[in-house]
């Protein structure tokens, strides 16, 4: 209901609806949201700056802690960036193992999201159900990486642990378990009347808006944009999988309109896709080395003598993560930039949240699967606390100055 009275509504930074600190200021007209302002930065830990004081191997473990849910995607993007500069070839077996862990991570992340989304609309039974079945994939990850969340599996030029025959048995059993459950779970998630009533037609992000705000990952695919870094810029074993396609709600016979239901459908279908990819990789796992066999010291010594810049891109469960590094004959990179998916997706909140009812705010916010810990990368802090806005011209001029300086040197 619209009314003439406009009032602000502050949610956050500490609020039970979000698991992470983020602040929303809504402008409410009656029951409807008329505008929204978002304040990030509560979990800013300065990781990009810390990384410049650590060596190349230590950074991998630091970047795992950018986000505990994408704790494989971030270090993987970094390793790809370094391998891009140093032109390191990753052995085939390592590429496949990386793919398997990446997909296991996607599986656990999507199950986790489904639970959170169910919780946000008050469907706690489903929350318990999905988190219970999620334990299976965590068990599997634990058995073969040694940890439930931060795996520590990656190294530059490969992976650190191999898949033993016992591990592959566990993975096969896990796949069977999920394949059996999938039909039932997808029926609950996609056909349940309560869920449909709460998710259909709200939080709409049209295709044009998704393009305009550079949405990535399931948020973009839910609006009908067919973009997926795994297919557009394949890394790891994704070259070898011919049937891999970006998921869209059309796969269940629904024209995408970009509402919460579509985004949920994309994630549910991606669970199936991940299971298929893992199965493919297990069946075609090549023999051979899992890394270059060089120790950390040797790798660092090699990278110490290099100059150049590299980019690593990978499709994390929430969308594209992109890492950019500059090396300059030093024991540590001289620049590291992390671009997390919530950077791009955060802005899509604005069209989604406008003109919805107050009661739908939590589920719409959760629908992009926000990860605030990923997005809080850089803030300007001034001692006097004054807010400062950099205009486009100012930034443009700054960049010209910078390039002039480096050209003169």
């Amino acid at each position: 209901m619209k009314s003439d009275i406009v009032y602000p509504l502050n949610i956050g930074p500490v609020h039970p609806a979000f698991k992470e600190p983020i602040k929303f200021t809504f402008r409410i007209e009656g029951e409807q949201v008329a505008g929204v302002d978002i304040d990030f930065g509560y979990t800013h830990r300065g990781i990009e700056k810390i990384a410049l004081e650590r060596n190349y191997i230590q950074i991998i473990y630091l970047l795992e802690r950018v986000c505990g849910i994408c704790s494989f995607s971030h270090p993987l993007a970094y390793c790809l960036a370094i391998e891009d500069v140093a032109e390191i070839q990753v052995p085939d077996r390592a590429r496949y193992i990386r793919t398997i862990i990446g997909e296991l991570e996607r599986l656990h992340s999507h199950l986790l999201w489904t639970g959170i989304a169910a919780h946000e609309i008050g469907f706690d039974t489903l929350f318990m159900y999905t988190w219970n079945i999620r334990e299976k994939v965590l068990d599997c990850l634990e058995e073969f990486t040694g940890n439930r969340i931060n795996y520590g599996m990656l190294t530059i030029g490969g992976v650190r642990r191999d898949i033993t025959p016992e591990n592959s048995e566990t993975i096969t059993r896990m796949l069977e378990y999920y394949m059996e459950l999938y039909d039932r779970a997808s029926e609950i998630l996609l056909d349940d009347l309560t869920l449909r009533a709460r998710t259909e037609g709200i939080g709409i992000l049209s295709r044009e808006q998704a393009e305009m705000f550079c949405a990535v990952g399931p948020t973009a695919r839910g609006s009908g944009l067919l973009k997926d870094v795994r297919i557009d810029y394949p890394v790891n074993a994704y070259y070898d999988i011919p049937w891999l396609n970006p998921i869209s709600p059309r796969d269940i016979g629904k024209e995408p309109i970009g509402d919460v239901y579509d985004r949920m459908a994309v994630r549910v279908l991606e669970i199936k896709q991940s299971l298929n990819v893992i199965q493919f990789c297990m069946e075609n796992l090549p023999e051979g080395d899992i890394n270059s066999g060089e120790g950390a010291v040797k790798i660092i010594n090699k990278l110490k003598k290099l100059e150049g810049e590299g980019i690593g891109r990978y499709e994390a469960p929430r969308g594209e993560v992109c890492h950019y590094v500059i090396l300059d004959n030093q024991e540590h990179p001289i620049q590291l930039k992390v671009k997390a998916p919530t950077y791009s997706n955060g802005f899509t909140w604005i069209p989604m949240l406008t003109n919805i009812e107050i009661a739908d705010i939590p589920i719409v916010i959760a629908s992009i699967d926000p990860c605030v810990a990923c997005a809080d990368r850089m803030t300007f802090i001034r001692k006097d606390g004054a807010k400062e806005r950099y205009s486009w011209d100012y930034l443009h001029q700054k960049s010209i100055q910078k390039y002039k300086r480096s050209a003169n040197q």
Partner: protein, 159 residues
Amino acid sequence: MVYYYRCYNVIDNNRGTYVKKINYKHLKRSLWAYHMNTGSCNACDIEILATLMPRYDAERFGIKLVGSPRHADVLLVTGTVTEKIKDKILQVYQQVPKPKLVMIIGSCGATKGVFHESYAMAGPLDTLLPVDVYVPGCPPRPEAIIYGVAKAWEKLEEL
């Protein structure tokens, strides 16, 4: 029944003064927890939730997450305390009714952990608040979190 009516003087180690007659009898059974994220990487947060899920099922001990600090007995804090959230954690701590316990989940709340040389840190938390139980690990396993809660109970028995 004496057990239920024991009252003690304890030192509030934040201010170093006596806080008179805090009655811990209400805390003997179900601990209600309020979870606050002060700049963690989410891993510890999802492990706390996993602790409450059917596999580990901490709710059978009466441990429950509540939506407001005013309903809580225990403050579960995850993450290093960043500069921007410092005021908020102090406010939330004030809102928890006495008697209260503070538990740190994860190494980075206790020692800043992997982010130790960061410029954006106001922590570790025990420089700001009195902390009762530390659960180390990056992230700690759900078993460790349950063990930490058991330790909190033990601590209450001793008081």
